[in-house]
């Protein structure tokens, strides 16, 4: 497996970007964090567009930067693909010219086979002779992605490629991202400040804030990491669950999901049974009850749970965070008053009422 070791430090006027990281690169790694947290700086350092004075970068067995030994491989000689937010297609070349620009410089042999394959995967066959001015935002982004893929990158860097697109276009592009993984198996570093667009894709999450990486790991783990509230932002504090689609309930217009041995109901979604679906449950949307009152509540999803731990909330004095066990950790946020009123204790068996379950793209 390929390892990425990176050590970068950049000093800006009012901001220091500092990263010291070693992680395996495979699948979809998302760099997530608020704007100005250093995500783009990280990508630019990896690509060599930015040079950290005492930096170090190693991918697999290749050292791209080691300032102690005076090594700095220029961007053009690094096997990376870079997809910019503003696409940066060359306006003087048509789509085919843009695609072949990187192809002929990086993939001189068997270029045509790769070209046809990528054009097919990205659905660009009918656009080849068009110029970038005549493409829609989504089409431009697909061309930019294909252009980067044609350089046969060892690592594909994407900097908020969906930020300029509306919700509908985003949904059109996301399947193409999935195909990068399933058909070309190129590892991706993906920068985003909105988790909704990538929650279904992400394998590893790097959470960044104020120029530093504050958490790294599988998305479910990072979300159950304590004290992330101030990094994630209030609305994202909660739990990510990996579920499987069981069936569609046509009568009530619901989709039925399975998670461990639990059944969850969500408003009907166009997903086929058997598909994996990640969902997000906000800590605020989980309420606790000491008795099973399933027939006395309008809440659809009620799960038996055990209290693992009660922690005071650092941000909000009236709230406490309750970590429950439902086969995996589930985070609930309730008031201190309710805690006292119900006299909740660690180890106690209770019922978690889940008021809302959000699909990835419904997060905000």
């Amino acid at each position: 497996m390929n390892l990425l070791s990176a050590k970068f430090k950049l000093v800006f006027d009012e901001f220091i970007f500092k990263v010291d990281l070693e992680i395996p690169i495979h699948g979809f790694t998302v760099l997530f964090g608020p704007s100005g947290s250093g995500k783009t700086s990280f990508l630019r350092c990896i690509s060599g567009l930015e040079r950290s004075p005492e930096g170090f970068l190693r991918i697999g067995d290749e050292t791209w930067q080691d300032e102690k030994r005076g090594i700095f491989v220029p961007t053009s000689e690094r096997q990376i693909g870079y997809v910019f937010q503003e696409t940066r297609l060359f306006p003087h070349l048509n789509v085919e010219g843009n695609l072949r620009y990187g192809l002929k410089r990086c993939t001189p042999q068997n270029g045509d086979a790769l070209f046809s394959q990528v054009v097919e995967i990205m659905g660009l066959g009918s656009l080849l002779s068009r110029h970038p001015v005549n493409l829609s935002g989504g089409e431009k982004q697909r061309v930019a992605l294909a252009r980067a893929l044609l350089t046969r990158p060892r690592l594909l860097l994407m900097d908020e490629p969906l930020a300029a697109l509306d919700a509908k276009r985003k949904q059109e592009i996301l399947p193409y991202f999935q195909r990068i993984q399933s058909e070309l198996s190129i590892p991706v570093f993906y920068v985003s400040h909105s988790l909704n667009e990538v929650l279904q894709l992400v394998d590893t999450l790097l959470l960044m804030d104020q120029g530093k990486i504050v958490a790294a790991g599988p998305v479910e783990d990072v979300f159950s990491h304590p004290n992330l509230e101030r990094h994630l932002g209030h609305s994202l504090v909660g739990t990510v669950l990996g579920t499987t689609v069981v069936r569609q309930d046509e009568e009530f217009q619901l989709t039925v999901l399975k998670f461990n041995d639990h059944i969850l109901y969500v408003p009907r979604r166009d997903v086929c049974p058997g598909n994996r679906l990640r969902v997000h449950i906000r800590a605020e949307d989980v309420t606790l009850a000491v008795a099973p009152i399933e027939d006395q509540t309008s809440v659809l999803n009620v799960l038996p749970a055990q209290i693992v731990e009660v922690r005071s909330n650092a941000e909000d004095g009236c709230k406490v965070d309750v970590i429950l066990d439902i086969g995996c950790p589930l985070l609930a946020s309730i008031t201190r008053k309710s805690l006292a009123h119900l006299n909740l204790q660690s180890g106690q068996n209770i019922y978690a009422h889940i008021k809302a379950i959000r699909m990835a793209h419904e997060l905000d």
Partner: protein, 227 residues
């Protein structure tokens, strides 16, 4: 007016001077414009001012300094004379050097504006696609700056055609060597040969107008590439 008696030599000399000057200016001006557009030095305004100087300086002032520098005792004239045996002042080479300074802003500024408008973004994209900096300059920046190149070439050429003061100071009026069109016109007027002066002036006027017209027409047809 008698066209058959017209001395064509100043016309050819002028066209030759303008063509050579533009070539020299492209070799010098493109790197200067590129450097100005991408340098991060805080002295950039000073360099911009130096490049723009010939726009506002009286040609006689420029010509005077050039005469001194290119003359037999000048920084450039002296070593050149020592090597080649002849001075630079009052030669065609001297005229080319003088015209290069004189027309510099007309070539550098359109290129500078074009490179600056393109910015670094498309270049970075080219580097990530495996293009070296040199490669990216030729295959991305230059095609995108095509309008800037055309404007630079034409303005540099047209401006050199009409040069007078600098030529007079540095080149004098040696037939076949340094006597260019504008000086020929001046001399015709001095000798009250108005018909020849008319012919040459009208010719220069219409030629220059046609050249500029062509450029503006081409520029309208070319797409603007701004990132």
């Amino acid at each position: 007016m008698n066209i058959s008696s017209l001395d064509y030599q100043p016309i050819f000399l002028t066209l030759q001077l303008a063509a050579v000057t533009v070539l020299v200016l492209l070799v010098i001006g493109v790197p200067i414009a590129w450097w100005l557009a991408h340098t991060r030095t805080r002295f950039r305004p000073a360099f911009e001012a130096v490049v723009a100087l010939p726009l506002v300086l009286p040609p006689t002032v420029l010509g005077f300094y050039l005469l001194i520098i290119l003359g037999p005792n000048g920084w450039i004239g002296k070593p050149v004379e020592a090597m080649s045996g002849s001075p630079l002042s009052f030669t065609f080479t001297g005229l080319v050097i003088a015209s290069t300074f004189y027309s510099l802003p007309f070539v550098v500024q359109p290129l500078y504006n074009a490179f600056e408008a393109i910015g670094k973004d498309p270049l970075e994209a080219a580097w990530t696609l495996g293009a070296s900096k040199w490669d990216a300059f030729w295959t991305v920046a230059s095609p995108m700056a095509l309008r800037g190149y055309i404007t630079a070439i034409v303005l540099g050429f047209a401006h050199t055609l009409g040069e007078f003061g600098v030529v007079l100071m540095v080149g004098g009026s040696i037939p076949g060597k340094t006597k260019v069109l504008s000086i020929e016109i001046y001399e015709r007027v001095e000798t009250l040969d108005y018909s020849q002066a008319h012919l040459l002036s009208a010719g220069l006027l219409s030629f220059t107008f046609l050249v500029l017209l062509t450029v503006y027409y081409i520029n309208r047809k070319l797409p603007v590439h701004v990132s």
